[in-house]
């Protein structure tokens, strides 16, 4: 009896191993077959996102390759290393797209892309990642509303520091009733990005070109 139990166990493990090997081979080959197209898709998606905050006629360089890293803990207030994309027109700096983070959203971080033109005005802001309450705080996302466009053409000159708040706090920015924490966090983060740009614009463009 003992031997047949052993044989049975052996046979069973051989079947299990065979299935594992077949599964692994299938997954590995599928991974390699789809890797190229997936990377290309992700690159395209990122480029489309950048183009939403940066008019196409403002740059003629490859944005995804012309980046600078911003170390955490600086004026931008980012906790992790983040990227800035440099736009150039005929070799001259024309705009900068900052990856900014609002750390104080209602449910965690809100990630933003802020497009800043050479003259210090905002070309556009988009929320790229957030966990705000569906149907309540998610109007900051362009797929749920146009609120985020209130930052278009804003600048530090146009709006004084004390007005960079939502209306409820005595500032100039509108918000949707019932969800104040979310827009408050976004306004603060955009303001911070503007101030960062004003202070560090030249050094951003002076830095060595960094391949991503």
């Amino acid at each position: 009896m003992k031997e047949s139990t052993f044989k049975h166990a052996l046979g069973t493990s051989v079947v299990m191993i065979a299935f594992t090997i077949v599964g692994t081979v299938l997954l590995v080959s599928d991974f390699f077959a789809t890797r190229g197209p997936i990377e290309e898709n992700e690159r395209q998606a990122k480029l489309e996102l950048l183009q939403q905050v940066l008019p196409a006629d403002l740059h003629d360089n490859e944005l995804l390759k012309d980046t600078v890293k911003i170390a955490p803990g600086g004026d931008l207030g980012n906790r992790k290393e983040t990227l800035a994309y440099r736009a150039r027109l005929g070799g001259q700096p024309s705009a900068l797209v900052l990856e900014a983070t609002a750390p104080d959203g209602y449910s965690g971080e809100i990630k933003l892309l802020v497009g800043l033109k050479a003259d210090g005005t905002i070309a556009g802001v988009r929320v790229i990642e957030h966990k705000e309450t569906p149907g309540l705080g998610d109007y900051i996302d362009i797929t749920h509303g146009n609120w985020i466009k209130i930052f278009d053409d804003e600048s530090l000159e146009q709006t004084a520091d004390k007005d960079w708040k939502v209306k409820k706090d005595g500032g100039k920015f509108d918000y949707v009733a019932g969800a104040t924490i979310t827009p408050r966090a976004v306004v603060k983060a955009v303001h911070k990005a503007l101030k960062f740009y004003a202070a560090h614009r030249d050094e951003m463009f002076a830095e060595q070109e960094g391949e991503q």
Binding site: F19, T20, G23, G135
Partner: protein
Amino acid sequence: MAAYREIVENGLWKQNPGVVQLLGLCPTLAVTSSVVNGASLGLATAVVMAASNGSVAPIRRWVPDEIRIPVFILIIAALVTIIDLSMNAYVHSLHKVLGIFIPLIVTNCIVLARVESFAAKNPVVPSIFDGFFMGLGLALVLSLLGAMREVVGKGTLFSGIDLVFGPAAKQFMITVVPDYHGFLLAVLPPGAFIGLGLLIACRNWMESRKPASVRTPPVPAMAQAHC
């Protein structure tokens, strides 16, 4: 043909995975905040179920009983991963919408339940049929639940349809209650439990009105019914 009719009836009504077997509750509750989300995940699940039933049925005689569950899980997980990667590579716009739901399908017990209770005992073609119609039954429940939660929670129907069919489809969005301020409870997870409860009650009520002879016997609670 009668066998196929039985499969269809089981999937859509008598043993509906969403309101009778109560299998696959985690995606049910997580993604049914709108019709489009519910229907999309439901249809993706139906495809995965047809594929997993279809691939388990031909090998059912070679899998020893003791290791059938790990083997089935291996097959389902591999299939879902392949579908996920292929969609990401070749239909990227659809993947952007469904992408977060696809890996959730692995955790859906209904897939394993059908593989175990049907595909492991039946030939290939009926198995594929069973997987697809069970999935379709789930998709119907998810769409209905999504519709209820969307109307009550946001006052709209088919919002987000442009993400699936392109910007031109935006006109299909229906605003049921204009100038609605939203009812958060319906959109958040508790709304899913309440909505599902109402759907189950509704189905039970319809069953109880039938004469006893044609009534579906109650399905015993299944052992796998806790995920």
